[in-house]
């Protein structure tokens, strides 16, 4: 377990602690997953670098059509943010489903991305919404699409929390005739891993779907885009038949494992299209509202 618990005052100080600690310091935001990972022996750590005093990371703000969300922003703040409810509803809905109230009050959505679980309730909508993360290390600042932060293996992130940190998420805000939705299949309504989840963003021009973006999990090591369904929807009108037939195509990008916790592969492949159809219909309704 750790011997030092540090509160850097700004991002620069956080990075400098990380880069001078030979991989034995690790970033903690909410810590709800990290505490269990440390307890389980997943990490060897000497120092924890707590971001909670870095005030600029507390913000949720819209700038030029992009919603900027800092690394300290909790799921509760995302779920109750009027801005996010209005301009990124799928994310708000996902944040409200995560864990329990007690967890949501501590856990951050940036942490939900960095932990890289395949069906994270906020990461899946962030993929559908086309969000990017800003990563800062001693080598400078870079931005990455959410999907690019996932490594090849299960629960593997390309962001190394012993040398770098995510400072902000940037989420495109919905414009006119845009809408999104998140649906989740679960065994219980709280404190349960999703059996499956789907997030969808739709851009309309009247009754025609200009563009669709669909993300789903856990059907592979990280969230997956349902590109065949997205392509089928683009340019088609919003009829129930079109949406139903496009939703059947999400199976093409879907390769779930048999899981004792989440259900069999056969079952999940059988129901994913139904969930996708609901998500698309809700996103279309949201875009028309």
């Amino acid at each position: 377990m750790w011997q030092k618990y540090l509160f850097p005052e700004d991002v620069k100080e956080a990075v400098s602690i990380l880069s001078s600690s030979n991989g034995l310091a690790r970033v903690i935001a909410g810590g709800t997953d990290l505490m269990l990972d440390i307890e389980g022996g997943r990490h060897v750590i000497e120092k924890l670098v707590d971001l909670s005093r870095i005030e600029e990371l507390d913000q949720i703000r819209e700038e030029n059509g992009i919603i900027k969300i800092g690394a300290n922003v909790t799921c509760t703040k995302v779920a109750t943010s009027e801005l996010i409810q209005r301009k990124a509803p799928a994310l708000s809905q996902g944040a409200r489903k995560l864990g329990s109230k007690q967890i949501r009050n501590i856990a951050t959505i940036v942490g939900n991305v960095v932990r890289a679980q395949p069906a994270a309730d906020t990461a899946v909508p962030l993929v559908a919404l086309g969000a990017v993360v800003e990563v800062v290390s001693a080598n400078g600042t870079r931005t990455m699409k959410i999907l690019d932060t996932y490594g090849a293996g299960f629960a593997e992130s390309n962001i190394d929390s012993t040398s770098e940190l995510v400072t902000f998420l940037y989420v495109p805000a919905h414009g006119e005739q845009e809408g999104s939705a998140y649906v989740r299949l679960d065994k219980r309504k709280a404190l349960s891993l999703p059996v499956l989840n789907v997030a969808c963003k739709i851009s309309l021009a009247g009754e025609t779907i200009k563009a669709a973006s669909i993300a789903m999990g856990p059907v592979g090591p990280g969230p997956r885009r349902a590109v065949d369904a997205e392509n089928a929807l683009a340019g088609s009108n919003t009829s129930a038949e079109n949406i139903h037939s496009a939703a059947q195509l999400v199976r093409n990008q879907c390769d779930p494992r048999n899981s004792l916790v989440r259900g069999s592969k056969r079952y999940r492949v059988a129901v994913i299209s139904e969930l996708a159809e609901r998500a698309i219909l809700q996103a279309v309704a949201c875009a028309k509202a």
Binding site: Y5, G31, M35, Q102, I103, K189, A190
Partner: protein, 165 residues
């Protein structure tokens, strides 16, 4: 291991604790401060028995390093009654039979208090959402929900009479 000093406000009083740097808040409350009303069920944020209120929000004290609460305001079940007089939520739990074995009760009362401190007119859905992170294996939750609804009525009658806010 070199100990650290953590300062915070506990049930209205300033406290200073010397503990190992990797100690969890729930263990500091129970072992250093001898406040054993906060229970340990699962130690992984799944059961809610360790729920306390930090800066107004219900949280799992088993998932929070004690070092993280430096400077914060913490309420535990021991601080809910007012000089020996039970809080309306506590009284309602007794009156409505919402306590059986009692192990989950402190955590559920803290979750309910965090809700009612912010929202004096919660609907059934909001009450259920607030306590969904607390597991009870005895009651089946119906009497717990009844008790919280009863506490809402009592609190609102009190404030209508110009009593406690």
């Amino acid at each position: 291991m070199k100990k650290i000093t953590v300062n915070f406000t506990l049930n209205g009083d300033a406290v200073e604790v010397s503990c190992e740097p990797d100690k969890m808040l729930v263990d500091v409350l129970r072992e250093n401060l001898f406040l054993t009303g906060t229970k340990i069920g699962c130690r992984e944020g799944e059961c809610g028995a360790c729920t306390v209120i930090i800066n107004g929000d219900a949280v799992n004290s088993c998932l929070i390093p004690a070092a993280k609460v430096m400077g914060k305001e913490i309420q535990t079940i021991e601080g809910v009654a007012d000089k020996g007089k039970l809080h309306p939520i506590q009284a309602a739990f007794i009156e409505k039979g919402a306590v059986q074995c009692g192990f989950c009760a402190p955590g559920i009362i803290m979750s309910a208090k965090a809700l009612l401190d912010k929202n004096r007119t919660p609907d059934r859905g909001e009450i259920r959402e607030a306590i969904a992170g607390n597991i009870c294996r005895c009651t089946g939750y119906v009497k717990i929900e009844d008790a919280i609804r009863h506490a809402v009525r009592v609190l609102n009658e009190k404030s209508a009479r110009g009593g406690e806010k």
